[in-house]
């Protein structure tokens, strides 16, 4: 048998990521992103320059969070309905590659949007990069986990709304000074939005918190998608 290594895995990852982006374009998801970006920029330009950084922070976090989560869920549900996952499960694609490709595709798009919005809003761009790199994968993986358990798009939406609220509500409270305790940095939403604040003193804690969250969710996501691929054959016991 041929030597089988990293090269093949990398090639598959590139193919899968490219495939995700192409499908996102076909489903009109990229167009919706472009539209939202345009809308954000317009709103920011219209708003009082003093309020721009605050508005920008909320926009940037909500972008990978709210939109990324819904879009990724929709993509997985569409895959399910076309049953292409059976073919992927019977191909050399590994679960990790399948997850990583989706994470990378959405991170790429999200980063582009966030950097544009960040530049207009005057958000520290290093913070934008950190926030996206640490938050977007988290939300993508959460979306995949929810979608793998959903039988319909409606069910996915129903499951994802509470998840969005749980992540997003503390972040908003924190951002607008409703809560101030640094302990809130233990939650992913607050940690994410703290990276969009010019005060870099808290960044290391936020980064650490998000790294832990990503590691936890990555392990869970890998397990759930593995179980989901296994369930495609129908074996449950």
């Amino acid at each position: 048998m041929k030597a089988y290594g990293k090269n093949a895995s990398l090639r598959r990852l590139v193919s899968l990521t490219h495939g995700e982006l192409r499908l996102a374009a076909r489903y009109g998801i990229l167009a919706v992103y472009a539209l939202f970006t345009f809308m954000y920029i317009m709103l920011l330009l219209w708003s009082n320059p003093a309020a721009r950084p605050a508005a920008g922070g909320v926009t940037i976090l909500s972008d990978p969070a709210a939109m990324g989560l819904f879009f990724m869920g929709a993509m997985v549900m569409l895959e399910k309905s076309q049953r292409v996952n059976s073919t992927l499960a019977a191909s050399p694609v590994r679960v990790g590659e399948y997850i990583a490709a989706k994470v990378l595709a959405l991170l790429g798009v999200g980063l582009l949007v966030a950097l544009i919005v960040g530049a207009v809003a005057g958000t520290p761009l290093w913070g934008v990069v950190l926030c996206l790199v640490l938050c977007s994968p988290l939300f993508t993986m959460l979306a995949m986990m929810l979608a793998s358990k959903s039988v319909s798009l409606n069910q996915f939406l129903l499951l994802s709304v509470p998840v969005e609220l749980i992540i997003f509500t503390p972040a908003l409270f924190y951002w607008f000074g409703g809560v101030t305790s640094p302990l809130w940095l233990l939650t992913p939403g607050v940690a994410g939005i703290a990276l969009l604040h010019p005060d870099t003193a808290l960044w290391p804690y936020a980064v650490l918190s998000l790294l832990v969250w990503n590691a936890l969710v990555a392990v869970l996501c890998h397990r759930m998608i593995r179980a989901y691929f296994d369930s495609l054959g129908g074996g449950k016991l």
């Binding site: 041929k2 089988y4 598959r12 499908l23 059976s86 019977a90 495609l232 129908g234």
Partner: protein, 282 residues
């Protein structure tokens, strides 16, 4: 290439597939023939590592199926009984995408599409394909990375005779190239034409396993039916092919050149299936 020993599996607590044992040599083809719900697709899903909770042994290409890894999947090609294609991509894009997931150099996509008559629709989205077009695309998708072993679940189902013929010729061509082929079907004609061995599967059990020729021979001897004129009316007689010499009437008719018609009635695999399993193939 494939070796299955005492295989057991069930989706529920009640036993379903039981005591399944068979071997498939490299370069030969095996057909699973059985009525709907018999467990054919289930068996196939076990062999491609998609149902891992089975008992007994199922070795494919030297690997236990439940341990299937990337290197294993490089070597097998699977066509599921339902099409698994991206609706928003064209036929060509679907093949290019799935092909890009394999290390093996993929076959020429235009040539593959052409071989199943899909070249004119190559750049149309699959969403606009008919059922038969999807079936054909789904079939060539399994050949794309030139796998050693092919798993084809009802490859001709729902196709018109011309296209079914094309697919069957392609399967035979793959066999010529030395591929090992597993086919699931309820079509006994397909099984007879394509398979070196045929396995009858009913209610999760392997009821017979042999070459189509032997299976047909196993059934009560071929009959001879003949007609002749008697009192100005046509009459019919039958006897076993192996006993034509003992049929006095037939001998007399032959001696007097009085036979109107005579033919032997070979048993089909379908007759044999019914004989052995007591079930009719759909």
């Amino acid at each position: 290439m494939i070796s299955v020993q005492d295989l057991r599996f069930s989706y529920t607590r009640a036993p379903f597939l039981t005591d399944i044992s068979f071997q498939v040599e490299t370069g030969s083809s095996l057909g699973f023939l059985g009525p709907s719900g018999a467990g054919k697709s289930t068996l196939q899903k076990i062999l491609i590592g998609m149902l891992r909770h089975y008992g007994g042994q199922a070795q494919v290409a030297g690997l236990e199926a439940r341990d299937a890894d990337s290197a294993f999947y490089e070597r097998i090609g699977v066509a599921f009984e339902y099409p698994t294609l991206y609706e928003k991509l064209t036929g060509r894009q679907n093949l290019a995408f799935f092909g890009s997931l394999y290390q093996n150099k993929q076959l020429d996509i235009s040539a593959l599409l052409d071989s199943v008559g899909l070249l004119p629709s190559a750049d149309q989205k699959v969403a606009a394909y008919s059922k038969g077009m999807r079936t054909r695309l789904n079939f060539v998708k399994a050949l794309l990375h030139a796998p050693d072993i092919l798993f084809l679940d009802e490859p001709t189902s729902g196709l018109d005779p011309t296209n079914a013929h094309v697919i069957k010729q392609m399967i035979l061509a793959e066999k010529q190239k030395g591929r090992t082929i597993l086919i699931t079907t309820h079509n006994m004609q397909d099984a007879t034409e394509l398979c070196d061995q045929v396995a009858f599967i009913v209610d999760g059990k392997l009821r017979a396993l042999d070459t189509p020729h032997h299976l047909i021979m196993r059934k009560a001897a071929t009959e001879v039916a003949y007609t002749y004129l008697e009192d100005g009316r046509e009459a019919q007689g039958t006897c076993a092919l192996a006993a034509t010499g003992e049929d006095a009437l037939l001998r007399r008719l032959m001696a007097e050149n009085k036979l109107l018609t005579i033919h032997s009635r070979e048993q089909t695999l379908g007759d044999v299936f019914m004989d052995i399993t007591g079930r009719v193939l759909a």
